[in-house]
């Protein structure tokens, strides 16, 4: 079982962290990108707040549970902290498994539990709000 967990200030780098995937028949990547609008209102970006060190500890524990539950070969998760502009990547999950089915199931499960349990919060920075504060 090979696990990588990182919380990174600002947008995630374009290149994902290399993952050991020896013996894998399936490698699945998911990237969360900041949308340009929220509820029809334009946004300039998202501000992510993390409760450290609990956020990283929770992500690691979740990664371990996912590896055990789905028999994964490796899992890498990266999450942003602080400001991430529209169009940039704020979350990346890469899973390697022997077969497609468990890799896809683990992906879905991990994201659902993360959104329920991991202490990370996001706040939209609206375009009109940013204009107001920079004037």
């Amino acid at each position: 079982m090979n696990i990588n967990v990182q919380i990174i200030d600002g947008p995630l780098p374009r290149e994902p962290i290399a993952l050991l995937a020896g013996g894998a028949g399936a490698v699945v990547d998911f990237e969360g990108i900041v949308r340009p609008d929220e509820g029809g209102r334009g946004i300039e970006g998202l501000h992510y707040q993390t409760y450290d060190p609990m956020a990283k500890m929770s992500l690691r524990k979740l990664a371990e549970q996912a590896c055990e539950r789905f028999g994964l070969i490796s899992l890498s998760v990266e999450h942003s902290r602080g400001h991430v502009p529209t169009g940039q990547c704020s979350f990346r999950l890469r899973i390697a498994a022997a077969h497609r089915k468990e890799a896809l199931a683990a992906m879905d499960w991990f994201i659902d539990v993360m959104k329920r349990d991991v202490p990370i919060w996001k706040q939209p920075v609206f375009t009109d709000q940013a204009e107001t504060t920079t004037r």
Binding site: Y51, M54, H79, W121, Q123
Partner: protein
């Protein structure tokens, strides 16, 4: 030394960390509460927090507590030296 039979009123002060929308609603990132130190639990903490910080009271039902960076249930005991955080409405990803 207290006299025999005299009751000692022990109170402990706890600081609860707030994050995200709850910190914004309360306009602060910590709230202090006082609890009797005799077998206090997160259930007691929830009641005390609702009184001390009405701005987060409405969201407490959808929130949990983390004690020393672990999510815990309502019966979990709390002590003065614990690091306590209110974990509500998380939105990672």
């Amino acid at each position: 030394m207290p006299h025999p039979g005299m009751e000692i009123d022990r109170v402990m002060r706890l600081t609860i960390k707030l994050f995200g929308p709850q910190a914004a609603a309360a306009a602060c990132d910590t709230v202090e509460v006082e609890l009797d130190d005799d077998k206090a639990t997160c259930r007691d903490l929830r009641l005390a927090l609702a009184q001390a910080c009405p701005a987060v009271a409405q969201t407490l039902d959808a929130s949990r507590f983390a004690v020393n960076c672990e999510l815990v249930d309502e019966d979990h005991p709390v002590e003065a030296r614990d690091e306590i955080a209110l974990i509500g409405m998380v939105s990672g990803g």
